[in-house]
Symmetry: D2
């Protein structure tokens, strides 16, 4: 068994190298990676060597949207079988901090998150991970779809936080992969209208093909002139103006 990885040594400097096979520890499973998505964050590391305060100072393996096949079980790992296809939740929290005890393990300050310096990610043949963070994939789901469970979960989380429910009109600013997944989750939670905005017409066309009620090119038609009245805003562009204009399209609600 040999483990090859695409190791980032610096900006624009990826090298295919042999790395150790990660033997599974207690409660861990070793997974042969079969598909990995490329997140915007991977692009930032590759182009700029950093994202905010996260800086690549040592060689790092990128990739955190991944799935694969269970190859080996660590001691006491009982949740999966060898040969099972699983998708990976790439952040493993400590399970004992204040945030974890309160159920906000996404906020664990000690989380070990794939492809976040100095934790290696999934652009490699084999990874080992706590069995709780590998999830069985049904047969009907392709490998590529299985790798996208992580960005899909971003859309699910956004729609849960926004309390998207039956009959809502949801405004999604940004038609990249996250925006398109958020749109589809909004429909799954019962939204009846989703308006998507972007400045790239080809992205907006994908939004239309995936069911957007309205896909608006805000480079051509300012959002404020569109007369929108949304129940929920999901901002997926990272653009400050989109955020400001989006907020002004949301109906007044009171949090009490």
């Amino acid at each position: 068994m040999q483990n090859k990885a695409a190791v980032m040594h610096g900006i624009h400097d990826f090298r295919l190298e042999d790395v150790p096979v990660p033997e599974p520890g207690p409660n861990e499973v070793m997974v042969e990676i079969r598909a990995v998505g490329v997140c915007g964050s991977d692009g930032h590391y590759y182009e700029e060597g950093r994202i905010g305060s996260f800086v690549v100072r040592e060689p790092l393996i990128l990739g955190h949207e991944s799935m694969g096949t269970v190859m080996a079980l660590g001691d006491e790992a009982t949740k999966h079988e060898v040969g099972e296809r699983v998708t990976l939740e790439p952040g493993v929290p400590d399970g004992t901090c204040r945030e974890c005890r309160a159920g906000h393990y996404n906020l664990c300050p000690n989380v070990r998150f794939f492809a976040t310096p100095p934790i290696d990610g999934a652009f490699t043949n084999y990874v080992s991970i706590h069995e709780d963070f590998a999830f069985h994939l049904p047969d009907g789901l392709s490998d590529n779809a299985g790798a996208l469970m992580e960005p899909l979960s971003v859309g699910i989380w956004a729609c849960k936080k926004g309390n998207v429910t039956a009959g809502d009109h949801v405004l999604v600013t940004g038609a990249g992969p996250i925006g398109l997944l958020a749109m589809q989750v909004a429909y799954a939670q019962g939204a009846t209208e989703v308006t998507v905005t972007d400045v790239a017409s080809e992205r907006l066309q994908i939004a239309r093909d995936l069911g957007a009620t309205r896909a608006l090119n805000v480079a051509e038609e300012p959002l404020e002139e569109a007369g929108l009245e949304a129940d929920v805003l999901i901002e997926c562009s990272g653009n400050e103006r989109a955020l400001g204009e989006g907020i002004r399209c949301v109906r007044p609600v009171s949090p009490w």
Copy 2:
């Protein structure tokens, strides 16, 4: 213009009578009734002359699931046009009590609710109601469907209170009209599984036809042996045992 009504004078005693045409007051619309559903409560009044503390002591017009056509507008009524098809929300609150100010107008102690003694209902040709409680019906919806907006709203309310959301398994005990509507709303809010129980096989067949994942005859197979694990229970049978057994099928959750 003549107004005929089916007036209940006592148990099993309905009489078709002429009653006054209800001229619309300020902010009211007069509606010609086109379709009315028969609620379980109408049946109770007809068979027993009462529901709990609500007793029919004077002649009463029943019926509160209704729709019709706007025939006339009272002073300052501006929300509807003559000829418009509308469905009626049958309980008009006072708008100024503590519950109304807090947005819980369904709890208004001074609500005037159709077909609840001594307020007459919709088994008649014409009613007048505050314009806010008549709602425009789209062309694609039939008259009969329009009359069912009131029981549908019971299902919507139940699913909102139960926070039914994408991926949920919902248990609906009782396959009468309310249970079947609650099931359909649960799907609209993203539920992926709905189990319906009843003791009447013909009702369960309708549940199956309308998309129940599982329709269980609890007269033949006790619920406790079905191995169910539901996220939400919506009790629509009025049966005490269904309530008790249903609760035991719900996953533990913590309200914090």
Copy 3:
């Protein structure tokens, strides 16, 4: 009966004038004003003639933090007696819009709010207001305290929205009247620590006198160096930097 008012005709131009006695309409009470607070908004109108999109174009009576004595009852007004001391809620909503029906009457787009163009306020001898928006004052409360129920309600609302509860550490940025009231409400809801920040040492001294656990002059000691970890932030300064730095002092929480 004569009604004098301090009428604002323009920036820095107040004139004491005779204005009509406001006869109470149906469900209204007429109140002789006994005490009125001066809100920051009154100052803005006086100094600048406007607040954002609200511009004083016609003569306007300012003042919306007020109390007084009921002098007369309109038709059907039954909640108060002549001679009763009442504090006034200065914004009367329409009671029928979407926001009102949902219980968010603070968001009513048709609210008639004292001292907001073109609605006159309480720098006058007599006002009339819907009886629901006058509230009985207990004997133990002074007139001046009674006039401050409106700004107090801002503090109550903030603490309710922030879910301040027993054991919390609350950070209040800004030690003006609103900040000091928010602090006191936070204690009433069970907060065990309240840190107040400002740049004016005399305001901070009042905060200390009223019970602030810590009163921090951020002109001298930057908030980011104070090592604070708050459960809730209540921003009462209107200062952008206070908002940004305050947010960074709040513990991570997840809205799910």
Copy 4:
């Protein structure tokens, strides 16, 4: 070092015996018990040998309301120091089940809870427990008070679930230790009135001494005749009639 324990061998059969000293495992602390409360559940085990489905079949050490002094640290235990006074949270969850991951670790099906068969409790000299479930006690708190943190937390939890907040009138049915603690927490969260009911006049006297606004002997004066209107009901009697009558005293609220 010798470890004595009061071991229950059967109904009314306690024996003082030598038991092994519980060496602290990884992340555990060993605590010398200094004070232990006697819960109602301890009484049930002693008198009846069981509580519902929990049956004492093997010798069992009771007691789960406890505090003491840290005597030794297991490997990697870093949160406490030898000599530190700590109170103990008596239920240690697995930290990895669905309920734990969601922050509802109180619902962990694999919890190891003191004095619940077959897990021994604190009627002994020494116990070892995960460091996360021992909490530092401030000097100002007595040993006996420190042992009562566990029942106090029941009151905190009840008030949190009931959303007790400033200005509330809380009805507490049952003036035993749990009811009295719930009352005090309600005041700490800002309640302005607490009515306590019981059938034992000496318990009601304690409630009065601890600040109950009203202490009502429902053996003499039925609750339904007291004209109460409460915002929150906290049922601490275990009496079915108290629950039913208590519910009827609560103001209508809508969970939406």
